[in-house]
Amino acid sequence: MGMITMTQALNHAIDEAMAEDAGVFCLGEDVAAKQGGGVFKITSGLTEKYGENRIRATPISETAIIGAAIGAALAGQRPIAEIMLMNFVGVCMDQIVNHAAKLRFMSGGQTSVPMVIRTTTGVGVGFGGQHSDMLEAWFAHVAGLKVVTPSNASDAKGLMRASIDCNDPVIFIENILCYGLKSEDPGPGYRVPLGKAAITREGSDISLITYGRTVLDAVAVAEELAKEGLSVEVVDLRTIAPYDEATVLASVRKTGRAITLHEAVRPYGTGAEIAATIQEKLWDHLKGPVLRIGGTFSPVPFASVLEQAWIPTKPQIVEAIRASVGRT
């Protein structure tokens, strides 16, 4: 079927869902045709097909955007709300956490909030301290939210379809640096079930558990170390929360060693939850402690040389793997 970029994959997934279900609609800043189909072009071409009611360009009002999506979802529609960059969730956390996440529970199941919040972020583009954070751990800590992120175009399509199908709110995180990644087009109707991790690369010596852009680094390192006979298994969570504990534990039970890896700052990151769970449930299988790799614990700096020093690097990953397999 040819290759598609992650940008196209997301666009196709939304297009298919809108064609199939009149209740699916998008809202966000600059998303309509008049504005060129979104700053990252994810919704380009859709206004022409579905009209301005279903591709709503909004004022710069994130609280109103998320609130509107919640209300529409309560009324049975399936809104896809865009928060242009992840840091801006700071102005609308109340709507996401106190409302979207809790209304099903607080209503005793009388209502539900089937909505997707799309947002993007990523370190390495020189956007500085207020436009680069990875905040998935905040959402993972909230009961009632699902958190999803793709590491390739094909998964992006499948995860987006599954997120739109989901009857609970989904935080869908896109990494700016991954929009250009290409995959074989998985074709119409393709879905990747939420809550299922992928073993991106099989290995027997150690499990490298990650998601999003760092999956690429993990695979690159695994291939490099394979040359010296070190067999690294790469687990791509895909759904960050609730994550696929069964697949993660099976992998570590097999390898006996684990490292978590994410771009988000390491302290109190998602890696902490995974590491704490692994050591608790696989104590007798572990050959050593679970190690964690994450971004430097500082705001994201502007200067490129600092930004590159901030991000977890391949050498860091290699070092951690050697440290882990080194001990017996």
């Binding site: 209300g71 529409a72 199941g109 609970d168």
Partner: protein, 323 residues
């Protein structure tokens, strides 16, 4: 001011008294120490809620606040389900999981009750957006206070609603206080209604204790929304005749204010209007007696109802049960 026919007057009177009797009953239960839950009294604001709800269809949407007993009762939530929820019973409309600040009852259009000030407005826009998208002809009313008019969500929601001409009515119940803070200490605005103009929206201020003024404004706003003419901001002037929540002190209210609010009590005024329209004292007393009986039965059944099962903590977090 349009005249209100007798049937509608009766309807408004009954809704008003249901709200009032429910409030009285709740306070007497709390006073007697029979129950101990957080309850936000609506004494003084009964007519505002009743008249607004009386202007809606059964399936129109409503979003309200922790102080939402008026909208909830006047929109018609079955008393036994409402009381069971407030008393934390398994038979409550939210299975006892939501409670007094989160009453929800979609069958009567009560879609969200929020405990976060101002957070209902953006959600109301979404309900109205769904109606605008699918053409179901419903409109949405969101109720909030004067203090809520100072939070960001109010502003964003007002601007967006007008931009899209959403079928929504913003009902600001200006009871002159936000918790312990008097109106003049939280804003320099002449009134909240004046803010509508800044969004190009229609805004009106009405005496929420005058049934003709209040119902008239409610009906206009509902008709505009239903006709696709867009949102209206109604600032309904009223008084909060009790503390912020049951038991809260309100020594910070100046005596002149208390005297004024007692003078303006909506109930004697409404009763007089009823008498002027040839309802007899007997008829009115009968209506109230029936309401009291209905409430007493509801409270009895709620008190006798079972408590929720702890297993409920695993249900309704997500569609699928938690492991």
């Amino acid at each position: 001011m349009a005249e209100i026919d007798r049937d509608k007057l009766r309807d408004i009177y009954v809704r008003t008294m249901k709200v009032n009797r429910t409030d009285e009953k709740f306070r007497s239960l709390l006073m007697g120490g029979k129950v101990a839950v957080q309850y936000y009294c609506v004494r003084g604001q009964e007519l505002v809620s009743a008249a607004m709800m009386a202007a809606l269809n059964d399936d129109d949407y409503v979003v309200c606040t922790y102080r939402g007993q008026g909208e909830q009762t006047a929109k018609g939530i079955p008393p036994e389900k409402w009381w069971a929820e407030c008393l934390g019973r398994a038979t409550g409309t939210c299975k006892g999981k939501g409670g007094t600040m989160h009453i929800t009852h979609p069958e009567k259009g009560i879609m969200v009750t929020t405990g976060v000030v101002g957070s209902g407005l953006p959600i109301a826009n979404g309900l109205a957006m769904a109606s605008q998208n699918n053409g179901d002809g419903k409109i949405t009313v969101v109720s909030f206070g004067d203090g809520a008019a100072n939070i960001g969500g109010f502003h964003e929601a007002m601007n967006m609603a007008q931009l899209y001409k959403l079928p929504v009515v913003f009902l600001c119940q200006n009871n002159r206080y936000g918790e312990h803070t008097a109106y003049a200490d939280h804003t320099d605005s002449v009134g909240i209604a004046e803010r509508a103009e800044g969004y190009g929206m229609k805004g009106v201020r009405v005496d929420g204790n005058d049934v003709h003024a209040m119902y008239g404004a409610a009906l206009d706003a509902v008709e505009r929304a239903r006709a696709g003419e867009g949102p209206t901001l109604i600032e309904a002037m009223c008084y909060r005749m009790m503390g912020h929540f049951f038991g809260a002190d309100f020594s910070y209210m100046p005596p002149e204010h208390i005297a004024e609010m007692n003078r303006e009590d909506p109930l004697p005024k409404l009763r007089q209007v009823m008498l002027d329209h040839q309802f007899t004292e007997e008829e009115l007393d009968k209506m109230v007696a029936d309401i009291n009986a209905e409430i007493d039965t509801a409270v009895e059944s709620a008190l006798a109802a079972p408590l929720p099962d702890p297993r409920e903590l695993k249900l309704d977090v997500f569609e699928e049960e938690m492991a």
